[in-house]
Symmetry: D2
Subunit: 402 residues, 4 copies
């Protein structure tokens, strides 16, 4: 039988930037018996879910739910709206933006990848003026879509999506705006309709606090129109049949019922708490964690305080330190999982997730594990991050605390 | 909060041909905390899973596990091996074969759909000689793949895949053999390697007794070779990166961890019992259910006893009876879900699933609900199916009963 | 690790008259993390529970909840109200009445056990006139308490408690009235206040649909007064400290928190459905099961139709049949647990529980298993009970069906 | 429905000295369907449980398992072995010893309560020489039992039981030795047979990591002999029928099945890890926590380092500080439950539990919450306890770490 108790005692601290720790309520909901996906209860559940999920995306349009993980929703956004050889303008914020760009190329699109020199792009948000400039050059409107990542999970930078919208508008360009907020949704403020996003991509295993296995496309009218002309082959990801079937609360093929139970529970928890309260919680946790990193005298991956991520914080190791060795020791000695450095940042940083089923003391434990692990591996620290964060949390109660 | 207790009391009888009733052990396993999909425990779990799952497909080659439902695995089989405009030979066994053929067309392939006249094809297994004849005609080998459904969930017919293999070989044709055993695997005998199948497609929510959300491609060397030339765009479904990452027990993108917990538990249950015992159980249940249908004096959808499905039985309603009305009443009065007639069979039949977490008395309850429901809606019955099945089960103990 | 999957497949049919099948909602609630029994959430939960549980007993007085199984609540009723050597009038309705009487003797009381000749008492309800006659004889009021069982689990007889109350009143006798409704509460109509009961004893594992481990004393003012004089030693069972602590929602010693979670869920389910609907459900099931027994041509243990139990039905085997052999075969072949004959009825009957998480088809399955098992062991049957019950359920929908 | 998510997010830190945090494995096991307590699977489970539980008590004699919480097992020990008016020698180690003594009096025994002056007894272990001296005085052997608490949960003192045994032997006195190790068992070293204990009392909700609701009496031959003469009324608690029924793995009345599932899982976890490793874990945690208290400059309730408890640590607040106010703020602001001061220590101390499903970072979180809470309520601290403990844990890996 499955035995996940790899350690002699105690609950593992899962502080990677997703999959995030899943609340017990959601795990229990997911373990209820599977029902007939064509029966009347399912339709009722489907209609309720689809209505609630739109509130989280802040859209009145359709939100397509896939029984697949987030990478699939990237593919869905591209294949539904684009045709082979189409040009897309993408922006390098980090590892996940890079992966998405590779996917676009693999699918037969022509991505152009706006990047800052060196690793600068990985430490700042999307530079909207670069997008505006490039779109203005594109007088024939060969560029069909602008693709950006909202919360870049590999770096801890949360870009200003409204600014990207304004850039496109300022260029008077008809390109679709596609935004990946897989790790931003339900942790960081996000507004599909207000920000004029055409396709929002998200997933279940971050701010929604579910296990992986569900992903989303929120879709504007403009994107729906584009999907009627787009020529990339698509079937599983095709919006048309799903949006049609969703009208009665069903799906054209078998949905993943038990994860939808969990999604329903998650939506009740988030909407019951209030999204503003949820966002404030994450901002406060992020501030506390950054206070710790500053106390250690270490550098944060994100260099622009305006775009610090409320979801995760990237901590850069001093020259000569192998971040993965630090992580490995912390994992083995303290039963704590941290996010590794990805792509260009491999071995140079670790990432602390502050999302999911979490509270102040979870983060104190996490920072404690980091601090002890860095000391044991000889990372020079200026001061105690745990104490700094503890003081921060003590002195900054959440205004709307309940 | 989620409330699935739509009825005043009692456990719902989910006797559709999948999603099948999920055993408690699996539901409990699925509700354990999500772990880091890049951590060492995950790798150990992945390696163990990939080894055990191959035993169920009876293959020594790779089995690709997707964090997506079964329809996706159909798409994966096609996009990994084929190029736009490729001809594929498909065979109409029923609704799901038809849907797969539609998908092939939608993806830009040229499916040719072998069919028997009228609804004959829906009542018999794949006619291997028709495939052989057609392949012999194809002297230039324009046909790149032969696609058949092993256990057609819409009809209750389990085709002879070895015969299809022999037909291809007799024609000396190099086409790939792709087989959908989404609802056959782990309930009906299936042998990927021995039968020379190139791609086997399956899913989690039938014989594997899991909720939907996981699907599979078992892949032959020949299929892997084909995938290196195939030109349909693919990224999420692409085998190459998954097979590579699987070598160490990981996935290139986030797998759906909690369903994998359930899969691990399911594999332990099935392999612990022994696949031969599992198959014998299903054959015996199917025989009991058919005994009931005969006692009622009703017709079984499958007309060839050699290919009766061990997984489900389609029951044809007499002329003038709306099968969906019968199902609806049974559902409302007896808390029992039956499968509806799909496609050409809509309104003309219902389907009884005999798979998943099931035993003799579950089926007696099911047949009782069917019998009472048919009486209440005025379906003329020759005799009592419940009693016939009860006698069958009583007099035919499972030889290897434990 | 614990493995309860003793059979190759399928859910066990637990149709003993308790512990009853526990609904999934309750099992999930019970598996939530244990909380501090002295913290504020616990107090809130305690107050809510204590208020809701009174509605099920139909009392406005205190209901004492013990972290102990039902047998303990028998002891609690006696030790709280009585003194060594006290006379108590008990009535032999069956095995559990007999065990309670033995307990009284073991605790140093002087039980007088009213019985009908032979096994007559085990087939009829409490004969209130016998109690009245005996109390009238007791001019000095030496008898301190009258103890009867409401729903005798060993026989399937549900006595008329209001009649016992009238008998005591008619005798003008001050004895306390103590009633065991361990297996009656929340399945059969019960009214602590209206019927003038002084101590009602109940437990969690029957109509409340919980696992065993919680038991109850509902207590009248008169019983509370008696407890202040009673001299049997008591500490764990003592009402005084519990009733006092309960005022704020707490207990004087550690309560069994997780079972209380389950109790809370059960109370929500029962009160949400409405007790009258709950009672009607059980009456209808009992009628269906009796129809089956009549069709078999077998005798029901309860001989007085006015007191047939809605909770269970005792089925008498013909002379020469070992009921336990029949039960054993049914268990092994059909994964169905039935209640054994207890005490005087050992080997002569089996008992079918129709309570807990149950519905029509659960009972059809149960009766199917009984019928097949009796045939296989050679019990002569007049006709088919399954068919009779199926017809009964089909033709007698629950008026208030939802 | 039950909602325990009283806080907006995150898992509650339950760091009271029991009920302890229950591991997920145990919660899942407890939520499996209830089975027939008279069926063959139950017997097999019972026999396995009874064999494994003896290993934890380190006895070859019977261990009686009650479907009741720990207070009941105190009563069981007394009522099985003693007669009304019997003298028992008890020793005041703290609040729980005091409660047990009150119970003895309430049950009609004559407890003599050995105490040190002032609150000295609450800060030291049992003074075996006082017991020896008193027993030597008792030449007529009027004293029938010596009752001591092994791990006093109200103070964090773990007395030397072997020394008590030697004291009784040195006095040549035949009194029974009864030991409460409700909070010691399975966390602190305990040896029923080797230490010559006659009755060991324990419960489920501490080192066994279960919810409350199960309790134990481990019983020597001498205690069994005594029970045959003892005259206190008893029925529910009576050993004789339970020990007899246990021979085949059953109980004379309904056991609390689902908690027994949990117990089985707990025993597998503890015996699988090895008791010595379990004890070493707790000793190390306790040392880390004491290091923190010393760094704060606060006093530990236990004044004798030889008897520091591995299970919990009592932290004394400076004069003028209301410990309950500190606890309340910590609870509200940091979602952390600490044990209150009980009895004589009310308002003067709080207790930190370091048992159950726990690891180093759980304790760092706990100490962080304590430190921040004490600062916020103005408790003067000499230094940082969190940092001291973090350093301790970092520099003292568990030798046998896995």
């Amino acid at each position: 039988m499955l035995n996940l108790d790899f350690h002699a005692s105690g609950r593992h601290f899962l502080q990677i930037p997703g999959p995030s720790p899943v609340p017990d309520r959601i795990l229990r909901a997911m373990s209820l018996p599977t029902i007939d996906h064509r029966g009347p209860e399912f339709g009722a559940l489907g209609r309720e879910l689809l209505s609630k999920v739109r509130q989280v995306f802040k859209t009145e349009g359709p939100v397509v739910i896939y029984p697949a993980s987030g990478t699939g929703a990237w593919e869905a956004a591209l294949t539904n709206t684009l045709s082979p050889g189409d040009q897309v303008l993408m922006y390098e914020t980090g590892h996940f933006a890079t992966l998405w760009q590779k996917m676009a190329r693999r699918l037969g699109l022509e991505p152009e990848f706006l990047s800052l020199p060196g690793d600068e792009g990985w430490r700042l948000g999307v530079q909207a003026e670069m997008i505006e400039a490039r779109l203005k050059e594109d007088r024939e409107h060969a560029i069909k879509a602008v693709c950006v990542v909202h919360n870049e999970t590999s770096t801890g930078v949360t870009s200003d999506i409204a600014a990207v919208r304004r850039a496109i508008d300022a260029a008077g360009h008809p390109a679709l705006l596609m935004v990946d907020t897989i790790s931003g949704l339900a942790s960081a403020d996000y507004r599909h309709d207000e920000w004029g996003v055409d396709v929002t991509i998200s997933g279940s295993q971050k701010g929604l606090m579910l296990p992986p296995g569900i992903s989303f496309n929120a879709v504007s009218d403009k994107a729906l129109s584009a999907s009627r002309q787009a020529k990339l082959p698509k079937s599983f990801w095709a919006w048309d049949e799903i949006v049609e079937a969703n009208k009665t609360g069903y799906w054209p093929y078998t949905p993943n019922t038990n994860l939808l139970y969990g999604l329903n529970e998650a939506l009740d928890m988030l909407l019951g708490e209030g999204l503003d309260h949820v966002f404030a919680r994450h901002q406060r946790w992020a501030a506390g964690v950054r206070t710790a990193v500053e106390a250690w005298g270490l550098e944060i991956q994100c260099r622009d305080p305006k775009v610090y991520s409320p979801v995760l914080t990237g901590v850069i190791m001093p020259e000569g330190v192998d971040a993965d060795e630090v992580r490995r020791l912390i994992y083995e000695r303290f039963d704590l999982s941290l996010g590794m450095g990805l792509g260009k940042a491999k071995g140079r940083m670790f990432r602390i997730g502050h999302l999911g089923d979490c509270n102040d003391l979870t983060l104190i434990a996490t920072l404690g594990g980091c601090e002890a692990g860095m000391k044991l591996t000889g990372v020079p620290l200026k001061g105690s991050g745990v104490l700094a964060a503890l003081e921060y949390f003590a002195n900054h109660p959440l205004d709307t605390d309940r």
